[in-house]
Amino acid sequence: MKNSNTVYSKISLKTQFWLFKKHSINSVILFAFLAVGMYGLYQGFVFKSKQIETIENFKTEKERDLAVLIRGFDADTTTAKGKEDYENVTGLLSSNRNITLPVFKTPSSTSLFCIGQADVFPYYYTVKVESFFMQLFKQGEIANPLRSLAGHFDTSFWIIYLLPLLIIILCFNSLSNELDNGNWRLINSQGISKKEWLKSKFLLVGLIIELMVVFIVVIGLIVNYCCFNQNPTINDFLFFVGANLYFVFWLSVVYCINSMGKTTSTNALYCGIMWTMTCIVIPTLSTALIEKIIPVDNTAISRMSRRPQGSKFDDPTYGIKLIKQFGKIYPEYKNANINPETNAFSFAVYLGYHRLLDDANTVKVKKYFENIEQRQELINSSCVVNPTAAIDGIFTSLASNDALANHSFVWQTKTLHDSLNAIYYPALFFDRTVTKKDYDAFPVFKYKNTASISITILVCYALMGLLSAFIFAMSNRMLRRI
């Protein structure tokens, strides 16, 4: 019995392929979808190229500026210009103004396929000695609200919105069409059951889509290697796996609708409703719900950009108290020996205040970021009830283009800021100039991509696979009844 089933299926697959080829419209549709997929890849390429080019220019300029500043150590101090250059590089106040380090978030390999939220987050910052959050919340990227409103036309969009559409177009009437046309009796007379007929049709469509996905992903990987010098990563592979699981899920949904044995128009209606519900209604509803569950308020954070000021910084009593407090928290500055009568003293008090303010603000910012991250975690783990948004969230996460990746970038930037402070503050608190050795020890930023295989992703993939298997099994049971 098992063997005969296999034989029938093979015959049906062959027949299906022949039938598929017979309708030239199918080839047109496939070609159109492939072309759209390539366009999506092109959009990802344009976006990524722009980011990489900007990072290169930004980095080069900032490194050049720093090199020019450092040349001040060798300046001829007998001339006015040389004296100014020397003061710029060694003076505490002037070097604070002039030292600017670049940090940048290099786009990941997977970002070619998924732009995600990369358009709303800054991917480069300049870092100075003064308060970190004061600098951070002044730097943003120019928003293109028109594009954000419409959304990106990238590979991720092609997979999430358009592939299900292709499955619906090719399969929504797989069985009903034969029933409506009266062909089913002829097919059935050859010993082919409804299940085998549907199985072969869906297998064929699945194979075709698989080939399209493989084609697009391989082209993307080649582009990454040739244009951006990036090798394929595990995240690319996970993206590919996710894409496959997602279209298998949609195959199972359309298979289920077919197996209900309804008419062509009812099937079209159900498929349309299913697509709208899964791709629009449920994701928007869940985002609205999450907004309610986890409220986020930025008004307190937004005011961190204000520069601390006031006469208190000139008050020696306040200054001594603050430096004592600073020394308690940072014991390495406990024995600070600045004369309260000097300018360096009020400046040390001022920057010490910046540091303490940053410490207090870190807690608030962490909380603010955590709330946003929780929202994303909720979306990513909602794959059973909200598969489209979950897969989109996972793709964005794999591409390191979500809020989590941005926050990780922010904290990496803060680590660099701390390292810079660790070099600058000893000069400040022990009343000496900034030396060449200090400059040589300045940290160099290297972005660490933190997007990795998380449990959420694996569980989500497993659940999506199980969900598809369950829908297929349930559909087969329904098929037996009709």
């Binding site: 722009k50 900007t54 300029e61 995600g116 709303v120 987050f121 919340f137 002044k138 730097q139 943003g140 990227e141 120019i142 928003a143 293109n144 609200p145 028109l146 594009r147 954000s148 409103l149 419409a150 559409l165 177009i169 009437n173 409506d180 008419t263 062509t264 128009s265 099937n267 079209a268 209606l269 349309g272 409703i273 629009i280 209604v281 928007t284 509803l285 985002t287 609205a288 999450i290 907004e291 986020v296 308020d297 930025n298 008004t299 954070i301 937004s302 005011r303 950009s305 520069r307 000021q309 946003i372 994303q376 909720l378 909200n386 489209t388 989109d392 969230g393 979500d402 809020a403 941005n406």
Partner: protein
């Protein structure tokens, strides 16, 4: 006869349990969207008003200090929602919500809603506008896809025609029946939104805008009713007609908007913040024309002043030269900012134009642009808000610099303090919302497209002949 046909259509819907469920679902999701949007706007209004008040309090309570230092303390501008944004938040979800205003630089608008949301926001923001622009057409499709070919299949169309009813009349009646049904949803829905936002915003509601919105959404509704009926009339097979209509919906409402936005960005690419800042710095350092260095400018101003006031040094001037040069520098940097921001705004406007022209292939793009512009949530409103905030920044910085120029002596930066009451003299930021007429100037083409769509479909309907379709 038409009224009979309409009544008959409604009777059929009333008997259909699927239609009842669909209607219930539409009402439910619309109410959820309304409640969600109202609660969001209410929260926004409260927090932003409080934040603006706090910013003002902080400004007023700062100690008496040098005017330039006080200017550096700065102010914040928080974007406040308007009542009509309860209906359509438009671009406000994707643009920055606050800006720090200080001397010398025009800071970026930060903290957009999209930075704080999960990636699910990419699927759309649940609001009455999303329901009316995206979901409502889908329901119209579900109500019309078999309105004509279904009658033909059952044989009732032939009966109707045999009774002397013209095919055009049948189509018109079907369209009208669907439109009246959806208008009876749309009008109360809009009124409910208007009343609730009126209460929420303490009577701040523009009735003209509301009426205009009702008209354009009604036309949009008519377009989809016409499309549904026409496709149903021209495609014999019900399965093919529903598939075709769904494809039209997906193409015009999902694919086209994205494609147009991405294409517009490809044609008119927006510069990055790095390029902008670099350009501004170069303009300030080397002059707007690139041949007027900063140092030369300052020297020229000094020289001109000495000649004008017939004095030998800046200390002898009847005002504080430091305050004067500070303001001159502000004025020049403002020119540089204007030059570069104009380029950005012009790029965005060009991108919008591309999308507007592509609206000829998508009524969704047309209604989206019209709706968000009317609700003060379009591109022009965003630019206007940024311009008004920037003007405020310049005015308060100028005010403080003038205080320094007129009331302090040369080289008294460390000792001079503003007089009590000076901070109060700087008025609070007040953003004025533009009138409907001003807003509509930027969406003239969209209005034309909406009419072109509806008139073309009407013509197509009145030219439809039964013998051509069902021969």
């Amino acid at each position: 006869m038409i009224s009979n046909l309409i009544q008959n259509e409604w009777l059929q819907w009333r008997r259909n349990s699927q239609v009842r469920w669909l209607t219930l679902f539409l009402i439910l999701i619309s109410l959820i969207a309304l409640v969600h949007q109202l609660s969001y706007q209410s929260h926004l209004l409260d927090t932003r008003l409080k934040a603006q008040e706090d910013s003002r309090k902080e400004w007023l309570s700062q100690e008496l200090k040098h005017p330039h230092m006080a200017a550096h303390f700065g102010n914040y501008a928080y974007k406040k929602p308007t009542s009509l944004q309860c209906l359509d938040p438009g671009l406000t979800i994707y643009t920055g919500t606050s800006v720090y205003m200080e001397p010398h630089r025009q800071n970026d608008f930060l903290f957009s809603k999209s930075q704080e949301s999960d990636t699910g926001l990419r699927f759309g923001w649940l609001s009455p506008a999303l329901i009316c622009q995206l979901i409502l057409p889908l329901f119209i499709i579900l109500f019309t896809f078999n309105s004509v070919n279904g009658e033909f299949e059952k044989g009732t169309l032939q009966l109707l025609l045999a009774q002397g009813v013209s095919f055009r009349k049948v189509l018109f009646s079907k369209m009208l029946a669907t439109f009246i049904l959806f208008a009876s949803f749309l009008i109360p829905y809009f009124l409910l939104t208007a009343i609730l936002s009126y209460i929420l915003f303490d009577g701040d509601l523009n009735l003209g805008s509301l009426l205009y919105l009702l008209v354009i959404y009604s036309i949009y509704c008519i377009i989809w009713c016409l499309l549904g009926v026409l496709v149903s009339a021209h495609i014999k097979k019900i399965g093919t007609s529903i598939a075709f209509l769904l494809l039209i919906w997906m193409f015009t409402n999902i694919i086209m908007p994205r494609m147009s936005a991405n294409l517009a960005e490809n044609i008119y690419p927006l510069i990055t913040n790095y390029e902008l800042k670099k350009g501004i710095k170069e303009s300030i350092d080397n002059g707007l024309d690139g041949h007027d260095p900063k140092s030369d400018r300052a020297l020229k101003i000094e020289k001109d002043l000495l000649v004008k006031y017939k004095v030998d040094s800046v200390q002898q001037l009847p005002f504080n030269f430091e305050g004067f040069i500070m303001q001159q520098s502000e004025d020049y940097s403002s020119k540089a900012y204007d030059l570069h921001f104009k380029k950005i705004f012009s790029t965005l406007e060009n991108q919008k134009k591309v999308q507007t022209w592509m609206g000829i292939a998508s009524p969704f793009i047309v209604i989206r642009n019209l709706s968000m512009s009317t609700c003060n949530a379009g591109l022009e409103s965003e630019i206007d808000f940024q311009t008004q905030s920037e003007n405020y920044r310049r005015s308060f910085v100028q005010n403080m610099n003038n205080d320094m120029k007129d009331n302090s002596a040369y080289n008294t930066f460390d000792t001079y303090r503003v007089k009590k009451g000076k901070y109060n003299a700087i008025s609070d930021l007040h953003i004025e919302n533009k009138s409907l007429i001003w807003l509509l100037q930027s969406v003239i083409i969209e209005n034309i497209w909406l009419l072109v769509w509806s008139i073309s479909l009407f013509i197509l309907m009145f030219r439809s002949r039964i013998n051509l379709i069902y021969s």
